[in-house]
């Protein structure tokens, strides 16, 4: 089992270790937008779908209220 001290000495886990720097370099230079689209895109699409759903549900509820208060079906 490698101790944290040994990991630091090997440059595996520290703020500016070579692997951290290399990972950040790849993050910003290789296919960033495609991968960010996959990471963030589903959230944006879901937000739009949820907003549409809540709007429709609210309209449904208000329309139902109006019919019942007005004596409709």
């Amino acid at each position: 089992m490698t101790s944290m001290v040994e990991m630091l000495a090997m440059g595996l886990a520290c703020p500016d270790c070579p692997t951290q720097s290399a990972a950040r370099e790849i993050f910003f230079t290789q296919d960033l937008w495609v991968r960010l689209t996959g990471t963030l895109g589903p959230l944006v699409v879901t937000a739009a779908a949820v907003a549409l759903f809540v709007t429709k549900l609210r309209r449904y509820g208000l329309g139902r209220d109006a019919r019942r208060v007005g004596g409709g079906a």
């Binding site: 779908a49 759903f53 549900l57 449904y60 208060v69």
Partner: protein, 161 residues
């Protein structure tokens, strides 16, 4: 539905999205280690590729954390508002809708379209991906049905238009 109900539903769906992301990231990425965020395009075969996947997982978790906070803010806003819908089924149904819709979209975008990762890579990965979408869609449908039923059961609001 009044403004308080709308905030409760919006908060519930937003928190559902955040919970879906956390379950995906914590259960599938970290505990089971079936896949990571970009593991199908950057296979985690050495320390550098593991760290790059870890970085994308971190971005994903950070976004889900912000999403959850936004959902909590909607709930806090609903606390002070008059509400007509019961909290339990309204919040529960909304969470299922958010959870299910996010997983369906994530499955279609990341698994099917971009191929950044697959739920359970290897033999039968297409079946795992399809099953994930089907189960998630079922969650969303059940949540929507609960919400519509809850709205139907609510007493009408006088003066509603």
């Amino acid at each position: 539905m009044n403004r308080g109900d709308t905030r409760l539903v919006t908060g519930g769906t937003t928190i559902g999205v955040g919970l879906a992301g956390f379950v995906d990231g914590i259960l599938f990425h970290q505990i089971l280690q079936w896949h990571e965020m970009v593991s199908s395009v950057v296979p985690p075969i050495d320390l550098l590729s593991v760290k790059l996947n870890m970085l994308y997982d971190g971005v994903f978790h950070a976004v889900m954390w912000v999403t959850t906070v936004v959902g909590i803010l909607f709930l806090v806003g609903a606390v002070g508002e008059e509400r007509r819908l019961p909290v339990g089924p309204t919040f529960g149904g909304a969470v299922l809708v958010g959870w299910g819709v996010f997983n369906v979209v994530e499955g279609l975008v990341d698994h099917q379209w971009l191929g950044l990762h697959h739920l359970h890579p290897g033999a039968g990965q297409a079946a795992w991906d399809a099953g994930f979408i089907v189960v998630s869609a079922a969650l969303a449908v059940v949540g929507a049905a609960v919400l519509v039923h809850t709205v139907r059961q609510a007493e009408p609001q006088l003066g509603a238009a």
